[in-house]
């Protein structure tokens, strides 16, 4: 691709391109259009189609569900440069991710950094192979933006903790096999200092979940209740009472994940989608000059953000990234995604308002639009992100 690409990398690119051509089913080269198109893995996982199964299994067998994790933990062992080539080659043919998972995006990186060897060996290969589906127990009814004020408590009973409390906004808790959870292990300590990061099975006695109906009409989040749940102390990741370090590190990865949630650069250009309903003039331009301008401005910002996301990864690999930069990406990416869906609703007009018809695929566009409103709340609100950038990156004064 570029003159300076080494011979080795060039060979890797050729081989990867050929392998993807031969192994990625054509059905898996189209953008996902519904939840069924996304494979989340787990004990009760079902494939929605044969191509989805084939694609997942082939990628899993190469370790490419987690291309840059070490091979010993089920990863592909790729270097930063190779991983970038793989991403570019997958994007080139529009290949879907073979496996979506909070284990990959959030827990895995935290375990790689803070987990002990036994924990890594136990959990990472099962994440890579899509065998265990994870959920995140962070927010509580009274601990949202102020996450560190969480009250779910874990009390010592011999070699175990007994956990009591409630989590909220637990994504897909009703489908998850295991949870990574923040619990208060020292109620006397300052709020950031008495927290531990612990893992347990969602089938443990005393765990229950209750889906929350959202404005989109879907229930991707749950309330999750813990009633005397017994968990061995060996399931704590990192040091007891130092869970906030793990939590923050994981949040950086969560924010990076959410910032990339928009369907960036895949599928038809937004302007062409809008043309379906708005129509075009004699020169092929959208027949709504103001909407056209908004879309074009959006496209500029989206392309620029894509470059910034690429650079953020490159900086991280080069050891030059600011650890709080994911907050910057999270802020911009989520606000941009909300803009995208406002444009789609505006472009769709009356057609985008239908909620239950076959014609509208059960109100897909309206429900997606409503779903994006959570983007700038979940994983830290936009306002919290700006505060983090102001204080941690810009070093501005104040609490």
């Amino acid at each position: 691709m570029s003159d300076s690409e080494s011979a080795d990398l060039s060979t890797f690119r050729d081989e990867t391109r050929a392998w993807l051509e031969a192994n990625c089913p054509p059905e898996m080269r189209k953008p996902a259009t519904s939840d069924a198109d996304v494979f989340w893995g787990g004990r009760n996982a079902k494939f929605s189609s044969e191509p989805q199964r084939i694609w997942f299994e082939r990628m899993r067998d190469k370790g490419w569900t987690v291309p840059d994790w070490p091979k010993e933990y089920g990863g592909g062992g790729l270097s930063a440069a190779e991983h970038k080539v793989l991403r570019a080659e997958m994007a080139r043919i529009g290949a879907r991710p073979p496996l979506s998972s909070f284990g990959i995006w959030m827990l895995g990186p935290a375990l790689l950094k803070y987990g002990n060897e036994a924990q890594k060996k136990e959990h990472l290969p099962k994440i890579a192979a899509g065998e265990i589906r994870w959920c995140q127990g962070y927010s509580e009814p009274n601990a949202g933006s102020d996450l560190a004020s969480l009250q779910t408590r874990a009390e010592t009973d011999g070699d175990d903790f007994i956990i009591n409390g409630q989590k909220i906004w637990t994504s897909y808790a009703n489908y998850a096999d295991w949870i990574f959870c923040l619990v208060r292990t020292d109620p006397a300590a300052k709020k950031h200092d008495g927290i531990s990061f612990i893992l347990f099975d969602m089938t443990s006695k005393g765990v229950s979940t209750k889906p929350i109906l959202l404005i989109s009409g879907y229930s991707p989040f749950c309330e999750t209740f813990f009633d005397n749940v017994r968990v061995p102390k060996s399931h704590v990741v990192g040091t007891i009472n130092r869970g906030w370090d793990v939590a923050k590190y994981l949040l950086q990865h969560e924010r990076a994940m959410i910032s990339g949630m928009g369907e960036r650069g895949v599928g038809r250009p937004l302007g062409q989608i809008a043309a379906d309903s708005v129509g075009t003039d004699g020169q092929g331009r959208l027949d709504d000059a103001m909407l056209r301008g908004k879309i074009a401005t959006f496209d500029v910002d989206e392309a620029a953000l894509a470059a910034c996301a690429e650079r953020a990864i490159d900086l991280a690999k080069a050891g030059q990234a600011h650890p709080a930069f994911s907050s910057a990406m999270k802020y911009y990416g989520t606000e941009l995604n909300k803009r995208r869906h406002e444009i789609l609703m505006s472009a769709g007009g009356v057609d985008a308002l239908e909620w239950e018809s076959e014609r509208s695929r059960q109100g897909a566009r309206a429900r997606a639009w409503l779903r994006t409103k959570a983007n700038s709340i979940e994983g830290g609100t936009s306002e919290v992100m700006l505060g983090i950038v102001a204080k941690r990156i810009l070093d501005l004064p104040g609490a």
């Binding site: 691709m1 570029s2 300076s4 690409e5 440069a81 970038k84 250009p269 302007g271 062409q272 809008a274 043309a275 075009t280 092929g284 331009r285 959208l286 056209r292 301008g293 879309i295 074009a296 401005t297 496209d299 500029v300 910002d301 392309a303 620029a304 953000l305 470059a307 910034c308 690429e310 650079r311 953020a312 490159d314 900086l315 690999k317 080069a318 030059q320 930069f325 910057a328 802020y331 911009y332 306002e383 992100m385 700006l386 505060g387 950038v389 102001a390 204080k391 990156i393 810009l394 070093d395 501005l396 004064p397 104040g398």
Partner: protein
Amino acid sequence: MALVLTEEQSMLRDSARGLISDKAPVSHLRHLRDSKDPTGFSRELWHAFAEMGFAGLLVPEEFGGSGLGYVEAGIIMEEIGRTLMPSPFLATSVMAASVLSRGGTAAQKPEYLSKIANGSLLATLAIDEGAKHRPLQTGLRAVRAGNGFKLSGAKALVVDGHVADLLIVAARTAGAAGERDGLTLFLVDPKAKGVAIERTIMVDAHNAARIEFANVEVTADSVLGEVDQAAGLLDGVLDIGRGAVAAEMVGLSDEVFGRTVEYLKSRKQFGKLIGEFQALQHRAAELYIDIEITRAATMKALQALDADVAKAASAVAVAKARAGTTATRAVQEGVQMHGGMGMTDQFDIGFFMKRARVCEELFGDANYHTEQLARARGY
């Protein structure tokens, strides 16, 4: 290729920053402005630029240049943007050197490129005619006369026009304004009969000129590229210029932002540092994010130009559009957050605001480039 500077590129940035911050801080521009300096830049500094290999940065090594790429040119431009140093670098070393390297004949290249590289020749492109950048609207006529051509018309916003030793003029040899076919580039001696140059003192105190051409005679040898077919060559060199100006605007934005954040950390009102106020913190954070995104988009565009100028148009449009809106935001927030101080001429922030406005117009503003992207994407 990774969107981070290589070790060599970081060294280039450090040496450029050392020279520019030492010899040409904003006070250098202020002095040139206040003394109504007839040249508008420092020839001594330009020779230092040549000695460091910057003047011929894009000139191929066979003609005495450094043979580096557009990413490297962008590094120099970004440093220029930090201190607003008036320099022939953009017009001569980026635009003229590129158009000569890409379109020059076997006779033209050695003649001009070696002089650009050693700092002895200043050159510039004369393209715009109207109030806004519309290269295809070129109406300056070149009609065949004997063995050569006669040029008639007028150009505006010719950067360094009053000091250039060589003008590279976009003219219409066929067709009508608005058409791609029929454009030709000519090498014109500014001392030729019929050339009238008016130095225009601009808001940013940088060099520019309006130039009139009244039946200016040029020989057939002075055609750069092919007659009637210059649109492609022009597209490429304009994109190179746009990438370079975007880099200047990134440097400018970053510098204004840095100064503004320092002010937020030192100015007290209501018994507090004003940087403690959340209203200002959030605006500062948003601006930081805007600048970082624009920086990445600009690096992406410069790398795309290095890979293949002909395929870089969309990446360049994104970068120049973003650079325009980001720099505009940066200087506005810079003045606003400095309060009354920001409004004084004594304070440097105003210089950045003025330069950003000119950079925004150079080679197409944000609206122009956003429109280009919409067309490229077929809506």
